[in-house]
Amino acid sequence: MLASRNVRAAAGARVAAAPGQRAILAARPGRRTLIAAKAQKKEIMMWEALREAIDEEMERDPTVCVMGEDVGHYGGSYKCTLGLYKKYGDMRVLDTPICENGFMGMGVGAAMTGLRPIVEGMNMGFLLLAFNQISNNCGMLHYTSGGQFKTPLVVRGPGGVGRQLGAEHSQRLESYFQSIPGVQLVACSTVRNSKALLKAAIRSDNPIIFFEHVLLYNVKGEAGGADEVACLERAEVVREGTDVSIFTYSRMRYVVMQAVNDLVKKGYNPEVIDLISLKPFDMETISNSIKKTRKAIIVEECMKTGGIGASLSAVINESLFYELDHEVIRLSSQDVPTAYAYELEAATIVQSSQVVEAVERVVGGRVAAHA
C-alpha cells in the first residue's frame, strides 16, 4: 500500500457506522439526532473534529503548518482552524493574500523545503485557480525529480453542492483532479473518519487532496482520540448487505442511507460502501462486495461526465465483468452548472428516491422471494 505512515484504525471502524452514527442521518445534516444512548459520549461537529486533527498534528510535529485565506485570525471560513493561531503563532497558521495558485505554489515550495503544509482552499472550486501548481508541480515533482524532492502536503477544503450557493461555489473538483498522477484523493464523510483521515493525510508523504463537504461541517458525531489514524486507501463498509453494492462517498453517503431506510422497510438488504479513497480505489473492498452481491450502483455528486463514478464504473467493468449480473448503474449529477434556485438545484443532484428506484430496478425480482 501507499507509504503513508498511518496506523490501521480500530477494527470496529470497518464494520457498519461508528456508534455515534448508528442512526440513519437525514439528508439535511443540520438537524440533531436525538439518541439517548449517546448522551454520555461527547459528540462534536465535523468542523471541530477537523480542527482537533489539525491541532493534534501540529502539536505532534513542528513541521506541520496551515496556510490559506482567513485561516489565522478569522479561524477559517468553516472554523476548522479556529483559535489555532493563538496557540501556534501567525507563521504556522498563515493568512495569505488572495491568490490560490500563489499560496498553493508556496505550499509546494515549503513542502519541498521540509515542511508539511496544510493548504486550505476556502472553497474547493477556487482551487481550479491552483490547478497548475497542483497538477504540474505538486503531483509531478516527486516523479520528475527522480524521487529527490517530495511534496508532502494536504490540500483541503469544502466542496460539493451546498444550499443555493450558485454554480461557482458548487464545484466537485474530484472530477478534475482524479487524473493527476502523483496525488491521492480522499473524501471524508463522518465526524469519526474526517478526523482520523485528516491525521493520516497530514502524516503521509504523498500529496493528498482532502475533500470535505460544505454541508457536512455541522454533522455531529463521536471523534476518535489522538492515536486514531485511519488508512487513507481503505473504503468503509457502512452497512453490510446481500442484495446490491452501493458505492458512494461524502454527502451522498447520507442520501444513500436515507434511501436504505426506505429500502429496508421494503424488504431489501443493500450493502453500502463509502469509497473514502477516490484515488486509488480500494479494489479489495469493492471487489469483495461485488462478488457477494453481483450488482453495483454508484451514487455520486460528480457530474455524469468524467466523474469519479465514470472511472469506477470503467474499472469495475474491466476487472469484475463476470461477477456482475447487471450493468453498473451510475447515479450522478446532471451535466449542468448548478442552478441557484432551490428546486432546480435539487433536480441536478441525486435524491434518495432515485437511489430507491435504482435498487428496486436492479434487484427487483428477488424481493418477491424475500416476501
Partner: protein, 483 residues
C-alpha cells in the same frame, strides 16, 4: 453561529473582501473583538511580530481630528486637490537606472561603488566558470543539432548574470530556477558528467530520465528540479523562504525568472506574498530582451520588471547583467538585506544606501542583458530578429568583457585562455561520450516515484507493461533494459 450564517458569511467573504468580512464576523457573532479594526489581519512586517502569537494589530481605531488624512484600512493617505494621473505615457515614472561597475570596454567605471571587490582568486574562479559555461553551452548545443539528444538551451549572453549571482549566494540557499541558469549549477559544482547524464537521460542521472533535457535538479547543491511551466517556481521560492523564516535559518531562497515569465500570474502572486509575509527571497529577473519571439517592448509597458518592485513594497535594484562584478555585488548586498542584516559589512559601504536593517523580506534584482542564442534548439531566432542585431550583441559578450578586465589587471592572458577552452572542450566531449555509453533507466522504473511507494493500481499497470514488453521484445529499444 448557525450553519446558514456560516455559509452566508463565506459567500460574503468572497464577494466583499476579507477586511469587511472580518467586520461582518464581529457584528454577527458578537465576538470579543468588537471593533472592526480589532479583527483586521496583521501584516507581517517584522520578524518579532510574526513570531509572537498574541500581539494585536496596531492600526488606529479613530480617525484623527480634522481632515488631514484619509484613514482607511487600506492606508493613511494624504489628500490632493489636483486631479492628476501618475504613470502611463503621459507622466511616466522615472526609469530606474542600471548599476554598473565595469564598462563595455572592460574598464572600471570610475565612480562605481563596489562594496564587495573581487580579489584575484575569486575573479579567476568566476571567469573560468563563465568561460567553461560558454564552451559547455556551445558544445551541448551542437551535440543536440547532431541528434545526440533531443533538446538544449544555452544561456549565451547571460553568463555574467548566472555566475555573478551564483557567486554571491551561500551554497545552501535554495535555488528555484527557470531553465536558463545552468551556470548556477556549474558554479556550485555540478560536473560535466552530471550535465551529460541528464541530457541523455541515462541510468546514472538522479532524475531517472523522467524529465526532458536541461531540467536538472540537485538537492545536494540546493537546486530544485526544473519544472517547465513558467514562473511556477516563484511561489515555490516564497514557500521555501517562509520555511526558512519559520525555522529561523540564515538562508534565502532564490527565484530566477525571465522577462517573459514575469507576466505570469504566479510572478505577481510571488512578489505580493513575499512582500506581505516578509519572506527572505531573492527574485532575480534575467531580462534578456526576448521571450521566444516576443521582444520586451511587447511583453510589458512599464519600466521593466524593476519598476514593479517598489510598487509591491520590495527593495529593488536594476543591474547591467553583462557586468559580472555588478551582478555579484548586487546579489551579496541583496542577500544581506533579504535576511534583515542591512547592507552587509563590505569595505566602503555605499553611502546613501538605507541599511534595510532588521526585517527580513524579499529583494528584486533585474539583470539587463541580451539572449545571444536562440530561445532553444527548437527555435530559429533569425525569423524574428536580424543577423545584424545578433552580431552586434555577440560583440558585447559578457565573458569577453570580463576577460578584458582581467587581462588589464594582468590576471589572465591568451595562453591561459587557449588552455582553458581546449581542456574544457575535451572534457565536455568526454562527458558526452561517457554518458552515451551508459544504459537508459530500466523500464521497470517507469512507475516508481509517482507515489512514495507503489500502489496496487500502478503495480498492476507495471506488471502488464513489463509482461507485454517481454512478449514483444523488439518494442523496447536496445539500450533500454526491461528490468
Amino acid at each position: 453561529m448557525r450553519p446558514r450564517g456560516c455559509k452566508l458569511l463565506a459567500r460574503a467573504a468572497r464577494a466583499l473582501g476579507n477586511a469587511e468580512s472580518s467586520a461582518l464576523a464581529a457584528l454577527h457573532s458578537g465576538s470579543s473583538s468588537s471593533s472592526p479594526q480589532g479583527t483586521l489581519r496583521r501584516l507581517h512586517t517584522s520578524p518579532s511580530a510574526a513570531a509572537e502569537a498574541n500581539t494585536t494589530t496596531t492600526t488606529p481605531t479613530c480617525p484623527s481630528p480634522g481632515d488631514a488624512f484619509l484613514e482607511v484600512p487600506g492606508g493613511k493617505l494624504p489628500f490632493t486637490s489636483a486631479i492628476q494621473f501618475v504613470g502611463g505615457s503621459d507622466s511616466p515614472a522615472p526609469t530606474i537606472p542600471c548599476y554598473r561597475t565595469i564598462d563595455s570596454a572592460g574598464q572600471d567605471v570610475p565612480d562605481a561603488q563596489v562594496p564587495y571587490p573581487l580579489g584575484q582568486d575569486l575573479a579567476l574562479r568566476m571567469y573560468t566558470c563563465m568561460a567553461r559555461l560558454q564552451t559547455m553551452d556551445t558544445l551541448f548545443y551542437e551535440a543536440q543539432r547532431q541528434g545526440r539528444f533531443s533538446f538544449y538551451l544555452t544561456c549565451q549572453g547571460e553568463e555574467a548574470t548566472n555566475i555573478g549571482s551564483a557567486a554571491g549566494l551561500d551554497d545552501k540557499d535554495m535555488v528555484f530556477a527557470q531553465y536558463r541558469e545552468q551556470g548556477v549549477l556549474l558554479w556550485r559544482g555540478y560536473t560535466l558528467d552530471q550535465f551529460a547524464n541528464q541530457l541523455l537521460g541515462n541510468a546514472q542521472e538522479p532524475g531517472k530520465g523522467r524529465q526532458m533535457p536541461i531540467h536538472y535538479g540537485s538537492p545536494e547543491l540546493a537546486y530544485q528540479t526544473i519544472s517547465s511551466p513558467l514562473a511556477t517556481q516563484m511561489p515555490h521560492a516564497v514557500g521555501a523562504a517562509y520555511a526558512y523564516k519559520m525555522d529561523r535559518l540564515p538562508q534565502v531562497s532564490v527565484a530566477y525568472f525571465g522577462d517573459g515569465a514575469s507576466s505570469e500570474g504566479d510572478a505577481h502572486a510571488a512578489f505580493n506574498f513575499a512582500a506581505v509575509l516578509g519572506a527572505p527571497t531573492l527574485f532575480v529577473c534575467r531580462n534578456n530582451g526576448y521571450a521566444i519571439s516576443t521582444p520586451a517592448h511587447e511583453q510589458y509597458k512599464g519600466d521593466g520588471i524593476a519598476g514593479r518592485g517598489p510598487m509591491y513594497g520590495i527593495p529593488t535594484i536594476r543591474v547591467d547583467g553583462g557586468d559580472v562584478r555588478a551582478v555579484y555585488n548586487a546579489v551579496v548586498a541583496a542577500r544581506a538585506r533579504a535576511l534583515g542584516l542591512g547592507s552587509g559589512s563590505g569595505s566602503g559601504s555605499p553611502e546613501g544606501s538605507s541599511g534595510g536593517g532588521g526585517a527580513p523580506g524579499p529583494v528584486l534584482i533585474e539583470c539587463m542583458s541580451y539572449r545571444c542564442g536562440h530561445h532553444s534548439t527548437s527555435d530559429d531566432s533569425t525569423r524574428y530578429r536580424t543577423s545584424d542585431e545578433m552580431r552586434a550583441w555577440r560583440a558585447r559578450d559578457p565573458v569577453a568583457r570580463f576577460r578584458t578586465w582581467l587581462v588589464r589587471r594582468g590576471w589572465w592572458d591568451e595562453a591561459q585562455e587557449a588552455v582553458l577552452r581546449r581542456t574544457t572542450r575535451v572534457q565536455v566531449l568526454e562527458a558526452l561520450d561517457a554518458a552515451s555509453r551508459v544504459a537508459k533507466p530500466p523500464l521497470s522504473t517507469l512507475f516508481t516515484d509517482v507515489y512514495a511507494s507503489l500502489p496496487p493500481h500502478l503495480a498492476a499497470q507495471s506488471a502488464q507493461t513489463l509482461d507485454f514488453v517481454r512478449r514483444h521484445p523488439t518494442i523496447c529499444p536496445p539500450d533500454v533494459p526491461v528490468q
